[in-house]
């Protein structure tokens, strides 16, 4: 049984900022959706279904906001599906939307993810107040810092690697007009001198809280043939989940991440990711996750990921650029962050990434993760349609 090939023919995002006080939640999502439709030169009437995702509803204080957003997203009279898989949700949402096309349930699907974090406080929203849990787990950084420590001890990576990632991503963000943080005076010294928040994670090595939305128009082969600009083709996509905490969990390199990547590579016919994949947009909310995920995703052997970073391979002009857009470190509307990774990967293979375009980006990986490093979603997109 064959699946319908899935093409990305429209991409839109908002200019991400700390607070979009000029728009409602509906206004924010509509802005991204309109841009995606404009990119595809389609209208609301061309959309068969809407798949929307975001991280917890508590961030904006709206329960099941898809109900309220149906009008703004032109979904009235259409199927509208809501996805929520923690931080990986932006990626998962795109994959659920892609599934509708692949299954030939719908021809053209609008998918969108958003977060308007200015309407709440993400740090405390992420500090889980449940019984029998350590009471001082302040924010995501408090959860992930020990895992970073474990990585440093395990790999022998020097302390300097985290700062290199942050310095790179913030410079990349200067080339991306939609990125939240545009730190024109950024220097490596400034990153290194920034305050320690959750040792070993410094202030400048953490993601901001952003308001923003990202949308994509996904379509079938016939839709792609009508597209005005080159489509990005989905060559593989997968989700994997594992429990939050259990004896034997490898929080540094979770099995679910490895399995998810392996599934994507199998679908896409990738034998050696380091050789066969041209660039990666990965979910790096704290700088040390770049070397950690390089290993988890199979771009480097265990304990070797930091060497790629240190050698400059992951720079925009390196041989494996990572987070060309500036990444989550520069832009983090949590519910949208995963979809932005997927969309940036698609922009690259379409040759539409502007100043942060990587030359000869034929196959690019988009990656997202969430929860306690337990939910993973990834897709690999290419400039050419899948064979078969």
């Amino acid at each position: 049984m064959s699946k319908e090939p899935v093409a990305v023919v429209g991409i839109g995002q908002t200019k991400h900022v700390a607070a979009r006080r000029d728009v409602s939640i509906a206004g924010l999502v509509r802005e991204a959706a309109r841009r995606a439709l404009d990119d595809a030169e389609l209208t609301w009437a061309d959309v068969d279904a809407v798949v929307i995702g975001k991280a917890p509803d508590f961030f904006e204080g709206v329960m099941m906001p898809e109900l309220y957003l149906a009008d703004a997203l032109g979904a009235v009279g259409k199927p509208m599906l809501r996805v929520h898989t923690a931080g990986s949700v932006g990626g998962s949402t795109a994959l659920v939307a892609a599934g509708l096309v692949a299954a030939r349930v719908h021809g053209t699907v609008l998918t969108l993810a958003f977060e308007k974090q200015s309407e709440s406080n993400a740090m405390w929203g992420l500090s889980l107040p449940v019984p029998f849990q350590q009471p001082l787990l302040a924010g995501a950084g408090g959860f992930f810092a020990p895992h970073v420590r474990a990585y440093m001890r395990r790999s022998g990576a020097p302390d300097s690697v985290g700062s290199l990632v942050a310095y790179k991503d913030r410079r990349n963000a200067l080339k991306n007009p939609y990125a939240h943080l545009h730190e024109h005076d950024i220097t490596l010294e400034k990153v290194q001198a920034s305050p320690m928040l959750w040792d070993p994670i410094r202030y400048s090595e953490t993601c901001p809280s952003s308001d923003g939305a990202c949308a994509m128009v996904l379509t079938d082969r016939a839709g792609a043939a009508r597209a005005p600009r080159p489509p990005a083709w989905m060559l593989g996509g997968a989700m994997r989940s594992e429990p939050t905490l259990f004896a034997g969990k490898d929080a540094v390199s979770p099995q679910a991440g490895k399995d998810c990547a392996a599934d994507v590579y199998r679908q896409a016919g990738i034998g050696d990711p380091r050789r066969d994949i041209d660039a990666v947009e990965m979910y790096v909310p704290f700088s040390w996750y770049e070397p950690m995920w390089l290993e988890n995703l199979g771009f480097a052997d265990e304990g070797e990921g930091w060497k790629l970073t240190e050698a400059g391979a992951t720079e925009l002009d390196g041989d494996l650029p990572v987070n060309m857009s500036g990444g989550v470190l520069s832009t983090n509307p949590i519910g949208a962050s995963g979809m932005i990774r997927f969309a940036e990967a698609a922009l690259q293979v379409r040759g539409q990434a502007g100043e942060h375009q990587v030359e000869r980006a034929r196959r690019v990986l988009g990656h997202a993760y969430g929860g306690g490093s337990q939910f993973f979603s990834m897709w690999l997109v290419g400039a050419r349609p899948p064979e078969s």
Binding site: S2, D57, M64, Y68, V76, L81, V105, M239, P243, T244
Partner: protein
């Protein structure tokens, strides 16, 4: 959409269903503890283990749980090790079933576990549900779910399509047939009660309760191996309407009608329907949209007026419809789920058993 007689398309069926008893309070149970017996039960019915399942999808709501990412704890209960292919919708489990159905259609998996759960007892459900509304113009006024349903009931009465005694009869019938459903929360003779919000009396409103449900889907021959009479999903579709009540005709449900058309409901009569109508007046609206006459057995489980566990009640409707096919009590059944105020979003599934 309907998958009937489309060449090269997989047949997918509900092969097992399990649910909890729905209870007014479950103080002594966490959500995970409430869910676990249901997961074991539905797996036992097929002999499958978690590791045998190709795709898992769940539905629940953080707002009921009172904490962000509440579904992660349920996943721990599922036992997602080795890692599983899994997803979650922040709404009724009927939509998780829809996502799982599309996953099976792509051929990426042959079996799927779908579950959903909700505990309404820890909070005030009427207050909690106001947080679903337009956050700028409506939610600040805190109009609650019963008040909004009362607007709908009054609109129906004003249109001459119902009166209070007709509404009362629906509640009475639902709870009478629910005496045969050991999982239902309100069973037998229940007083119609005082007005909750005119014209709705307490008997027109669903009980507030906690519960969970689970379903297993399987494709093609796998379904026949796992179930002696699979409930084949002949069509399934869902549609949403505008959010603002002011732009909707509350006496009608065009989204239900459209979903039913796309799911193929009107191609042949159904013998059974399980409707997710939490309020008595909504059953009238849905019957009209679905063109169900008195020849169709509606809500033999007692429906949502007998038990309405948030986020599971819609999945239970599909499960109940499927279970009747499994037991040979139905040949073509309709399952319906709703979400949002006054039937804003609706899902319709058509299930069929093999010819006898």
């Amino acid at each position: 959409m309907t998958r009937e007689e489309t060449p090269g398309v997989r047949d997918i069926a509900v092969v097992a269903f399990a649910q909890t008893d729905v209870l007014r309070t479950t103080d002594e149970l966490s959500e995970v503890e409430m869910l676990m017996p249901v997961l074991h039960s539905v797996l036992d019915r097929t002999g499958l283990k978690t590791a045998d399942i190709g795709f898992t999808c769940s539905g629940s709501s953080d707002y009921l749980a009172g904490r962000a990412f509440s579904f992660t704890l349920a996943l721990d209960g599922v036992g997602a090790w080795p890692p599983i292919s899994e997803s979650h919708v922040e709404t009724d489990g009927a939509w998780a079933l829809y996502e799982a159905w599309t996953k099976l259609l792509t051929g990426d998996a042959d079996t799927a576990l779908v579950y959903s759960y909700g505990k309404s007892s820890p909070g005030s459900l009427r207050d909690v549900l106001t947080r679903q509304l337009d956050p700028y113009y409506v939610a600040p006024l805190w109009p609650d779910s019963v008040a909004l349903a009362a607007l709908q009931a009054q609109a129906l009465i004003d249109a001459g399509e119902a009166d209070e005694s007709a509404l009362a009869a629906i509640g009475t019938r639902s709870r009478r047939v629910a005496t045969l459903n050991s999982h239902a929360q309100l069973r037998g003779t229940v007083p119609q009660g005082d007005y909750a919000v005119r014209p709705l009396r307490t008997g027109d409103c669903p009980p507030v309760g906690d519960g969970a449900a689970a379903v297993i889907l399987a494709a093609g021959e796998r379904a026949r191996e796992l179930c002696s009479r699979p409930a084949w999903i002949r069509g399934i579709d869902h549609r949403i309407e505008a959010h603002s009540l002011g732009v909707r005709d509350l006496t009608d449900s065009p989204s239900t009608r459209l979903a039913a058309e796309k799911a193929g409901v009107f191609e042949r009569p159904v013998d059974t329907a399980e409707l997710h109508a939490p309020f008595s007046a909504q059953e009238i609206v849905l019957r009209k949209a679905l063109r169900l006459d008195d020849s169709v057995r509606v809500n033999l489980s007692g429906g949502a007026l007998a038990a309405n566990p948030m986020m599971a009640a819609g999945l239970i409707r599909i499960g109940e419809a499927a279970a009747r096919i499994h037991r040979g009590e139905s040949d073509r059944a309709l399952g319906h789920a709703t979400s949002g105020p006054c039937l804003q979003q609706n899902l319709v599934a058509v299930l069929e058993g093999d010819a006898r």
